[in-house]
Point group: C2
Amino acid sequence: MLACASRIDVEHAGGAYPIFIEPGLIHAAAEMLAPYARNDRLIIVSDGQVWAAQGPRLRIGFAGAGIALIPIIVAVGEQAKSWSVLINLIDRLIALGVERTDTIVAFGGGVVGDLTGFAASILKRGCTYIQIPTTLLAQVDSSVGGKTGINVQAGKNLVGAFHHPAAVLIDPTALDTLPERQVKSGYAEIVKYGLIGDAGFFNWCEAHGHAVIAGDLEARIHAIRASVAAKARIVAEDERETSGARQLLNFGHTFGHALEAETRFGSALLHGEAVAIGMKLAFGLSVELGICGKEDPDRVSEHFG
Amino acid sequence: MLACASRIDVEHAGGAYPIFIEPGLIHAAAEMLAPYARNDRLIIVSDGQVWAAQGPRLRIGFAGAGIALIPIIVAVGEQAKSWSVLINLIDRLIALGVERTDTIVAFGGGVVGDLTGFAASILKRGCTYIQIPTTLLAQVDSSVGGKTGINVQAGKNLVGAFHHPAAVLIDPTALDTLPERQVKSGYAEIVKYGLIGDAGFFNWCEAHGHAVIAGDLEARIHAIRASVAAKARIVAEDERETSGARQLLNFGHTFGHALEAETRFGSALLHGEAVAIGMKLAFGLSVELGICGKEDPDRVSEHFG
């Protein structure tokens, strides 16, 4: 693989995998993904929006490398994390002759990553996959840590697997085509890392959060790097959410999930928006319970506006 | 758990689990399973035939222990290893409020074990399960080693997970109600362990195979014990079928699978029957290829009749 300015390794029970953070990675993907191609082809799962916006950049280099990119396009949005889309995806992967030694690439936001990772996990009892997250939320949170899955009628992410990718390629310039509302949603998870154990990073967010949202590349790289490093540390400590450390990552998510369920996980409330409100509510509850003073919650509320 | 005359431990990357082999275990299950009950209840997945034949023996002791047994009954036969039965099973487990800390008991043959193990593997990204195999095939093969899964249109076991049970309880007296054809089918997998690396055990099979099939308890215990020990050794060496050692266990299965596919995995040809023919064909091929002499295949053909 390319030498990369920014590389963070995630350690887990079964080994470790690298996360590369670098502007232009999508453009250079052919070189990085070539070792994973089998029979001169590579299967990419994406959704229609991402494929239209970022697909052309990804394709660059593959023709020259003699590798055929085979896209499988799934529905846009949370509804793709369903049994029916999963079954259809698996049928198509089998029809393409995917073997355990194949590597499947997830190219999109958290939905595409969760769905593809889960399909890879159960197809022939486990294939390799690689994450190329294209939303801020996926880059700082869902692409790291190996949680994959789908939603069922009774709730979100109730069916899934812990299945780590072989690598994660994070290209911050992928966010250039992302709507601001989606950027802000992902930003909530960034702030979360400050709030759950890094006061210095929360200070940084207060000073530079507007730059992250406005599109400043240096600020985005710093924010992504700090978030991924924090998550990698927590995952290494408590991979399967058994010791409690990983539950920290759910800060704001209890209230958040309830709000998302109330709005039926639709576009009225994005995941990060729900988490931001959830964190404010959690702080409010802590004040009520006398666990923390009023000053901290005020800072959080002010920061999220 | 009870002290057990016969206990074999299976070691795997994530730990180890015990396999208990003892006549009367089903009858004594309440005592062994009590530590796994949560909120004074235990969920058992079974099929209608097994539940009718063996359920009453299993229930004994649970009332006295104050534990409610909650059965979920799935369809009999290979068709239960399907997406629709899996989805329905998971919906029912969720409706019962199953958490990651719950233990689900698979009580039946290979189909029930494979289906239940897979459901446990993906429900909330992994619940605990325990195998109580009730067919000879499941006792000597499918309940050991952590392979779980379902069939899809394109083929058998193409979707699944490696997910080890917390324990396996093998009661050879469960076979007393098993039709002879099913016993013979399971017996083929026993002979396989002799053929793939234990000539002494194959000699034993030639001398005592008829007793195993006829129902001699001592012979059955010996055959189950030898088979489970052999499988545990191979699984410990090559848990995920990567080094090649575990592929030994597929001896006779390549031809066997083709024959099963030809008969649409129906009752015309049971799995063990297909494996027995597959092993004979594999030996025949080896003679053709000059890999082995004619004497060994003749012994195998004669043994299976």
